[in-house]
Symmetry: C2
Subunit: 359 residues, 2 copies
């Protein structure tokens, strides 16, 4: 089992990573009171709740389970209210610990519920998707969507413990596994060429869910994400490199309609386009672009962008930034493992899109 | 004009107190960006919004106004969504500053919106009730009610500036002014016998809204509340003395139905009962109880408890604490200006209630 200490804000917290981390790590030890509320969803609950609750029962905890409907479309204030109501009905007080058992949707919502229930109660993440293990459970972002924008309502709030039990990934659909690998590849691409090389060598083992390979990829991803986030916890500067592939990726998600492609799939293609843009600017050679593209493809992710008119691409990419009164800033690679953030002349972006993504 | 620096968390912020503090203090200077959203309600807006927006206009700010319905019954997730929607429709970004113009309801909701919009934006309090100026705008508690409990959802979140413009109190209904005075008296009673003596001498001036008297009472209240809160920002221990009069007071509010008596009125009677309990325990003499009761009465507050069966009183007072698995702890006075927190034998409480509050 791997263990990692994440130091953010005044508080630091551990991440335990391994098959059966739920049974083996000492995560229950951080729970102070007797009362625990587990939040999960109707898909994950039947698969993995029993292991969690039996561990809590064995430790003498009194457990309330809140089961949410499954889906990004339920990441709303209405679903959040289901959590609050269940907590209040179970008379949960300020010493109650919330445990999120599920993917990024359950984790983001439970974290936000924990940040705001009685002005803040402790919480623990038990991420059960690869994406949640390597990305959403690290960094302290919690929140819900608003009808007028994704992730618009939220808080920065750190968990007390993250338990990444690799055995939970056994039941994850292959498409979701690949979506998580997109973020793993991203972590290598932006800051660690050595890790990217390791991914390249182990991509088949990762896709086959080899425990040792998954364990290392989760560990290194958490290390990289937490290093990048530390020192920029409230997201003002360098943290932006974590958005590598995401500017193009968001355009794919929004252009096709959210949910048609998974986020990780859109990021896969987005990284290919960002690499092409880096190449066009002279930052990356053809061999490097090919290498990155091949890793993405072998991870089971699309590498060809859906075709949309160039104007539409540009509009979709500008939408967030216009709101901030700024220009679109791109995450580019000056060599694999070395991301930089730069504004790019729109004509150059258009050229790259015309060649690689135009209708 | 008075000015006070409140040091909480890593951040400290100023409170400016005076007639025309809105025009005279440098509060606009803390606003970084161009975009400001003012949240007020349909009662306060027509009375005081113009003064605020003209100051913001003069400083070249771009102002969005959000007007909420008036009333504690609107301190809900639905009303909060009105704020979020207005911010998103006006394309407010993470640099937008929210300004709360109103009483404690507007302040608590706006503060919570600020804590959670895009995971946190700066906010400024412009409290327009005496209660908000002396109590709710200091201490960082923000939040909304839930159908299953008052103030159950919220966050600790500090403003960048508090502007207590005494001129806004000119339009406050007398009953609301008296309700605010209850908290002023409380501040003297719990930690500062000298201030309580000053209140006694100036109570008629306060009720008559004499600017100098109000100014001093707001200043000293903010000092006392922020001193008590500092070092106990997240409410674990000593901060409880701020609940003097509130255990009995909450029983009055809940027993009669919320809104029948104002919170401050219930606290007025609650302080009399807490003083009687202190006397019964030998902590306070009859003269002191009489003095406190007289100040409360002259502030325009009720000093006689509504009559309810003793059993009902005890149940209502136990309700919060039972949820926390604990006993009811009372805030008592060991002499005026010296509050302590203690568990008290229920039979003794019953005795006091039978004598002073029984049906
Ligand atoms: N907080 C952050 O920093 C951050 C970062 C990235 C993404 N996110 C958020 O995360 C969410 C996406 O997370 P996600 O990709 O985990 O999606 P998800 O939570 O919707 O999970 C994907 C699907 O897999 C199912 N599932 C989860 N675990 C399973 C398991 N072990 N076996 C079988 N099925 C399982 C889920 O029920 C769901 O149907 C988005 O809402 C996104 O905004 C947050
Ligand atoms: N955050 C805290 O620490 C804290 C502390 C105490 C109370 N509170 C909260 O504060 C709220 C009560 O605050 P409140 O007593 O200010 O009530 P309020 O905000 O409802 O205001 C009382 C009434 O006065 C009106 N009003 C406000 N300013 C006015 C003015 N200048 N002229 C004329 N009318 C005016 C309001 O519209 C309202 O009708 C409660 O929700 C309570 O939970 C919070
Ligand atoms: Zn992502
Ligand atoms: Zn009060």
């Amino acid at each position: 089992m791997h263990r990692l200490e994440v130091a953010l804000d005044e508080r630091s917290y551990p991440i335990a990573i391994g098959r059966d981390a739920l049974a083996q790590s000492d995560w229950i030890g951080v729970i102070r009171g007797k009362q625990v509320a587990v939040v999960t969803n109707e898909t994950v609950g039947p698969l993995h709740l029993a292991k969690l609750t039996s561990a809590l029962d064995a430790a003498g905890k009194s457990v309330t389970v809140v089961t949410l409907p499954d889906g990004e479309e339920y990441k709303t204030a209405e679903t959040l209210d289901l959590i609050y109501s269940a907590l209040l009905e179970a008379r949960c007080d300020r010493k109650t610990t919330l445990v999120a058992l599920g993917g990024g949707v359950v984790g983001d919502m439970t974290g936000f519920a924990a940040a705001t229930y009685m002005r803040g109660v402790p919480f623990i993440q038990v991420p059960t998707t690869l994406l949640a293990q390597v990305d959403s459970s690290v960094g302290g972002k919690t929140g819900i969507n608003h009808r007028l924008g994704k992730n618009m309502i939220g808080a920065f709030y750190q968990p007390r413990f993250v338990v990444a039990d690799l055995a939970t990934l056994d039941t994850l659909p292959a498409r979701e596994l690949s979506a998580g690998l997109a973020e793993v590849i991203k972590h290598g691409a932006i800051v660690d060429a050595g890790f990217l090389g390791w991914i390249e060598e182990n991509i088949d083992a990762l896709v086959a869910r080899d425990a040792a390979a998954l364990g290392h990829s989760v560990l290194r991803s958490c290390e990289i994400k937490s290093e990048v986030v530390a020192g920029d916890e409230f997201e003002s500067g360098r943290r932006a490199i974590l958005n590598f592939g995401h500017t193009f990726g968001h355009a794919v998600e929004a252009g096709l309609g959210y949910g048609v492609w998974l986020h990780g799939e859109a990021v896969g293609v987005g990284m290919v386009l960002a690499a092409r843009l880096s190449q066009r600017l002279g930052y990356l050679d053809e061999a490097a672009v090919q290498r990155l593209t091949s890793i993405i493809g072998r991870a089971g992710l699309p590498t060809r962008a859906p075709e949309m008119p160039v104007k539409r691409w540009l509009n979709l990419m500008a939408v967030d930034k216009k709101a901030e009164g700024g220009e679109v800033r791109y995450i580019l690679l000056r060599g694999l493992g070395n991301a930089v953030v730069e504004a790019v002349d729109e004509a150059i972006v258009a050229e790259v899109l015309r060649e690689h993504a135009a209708a």
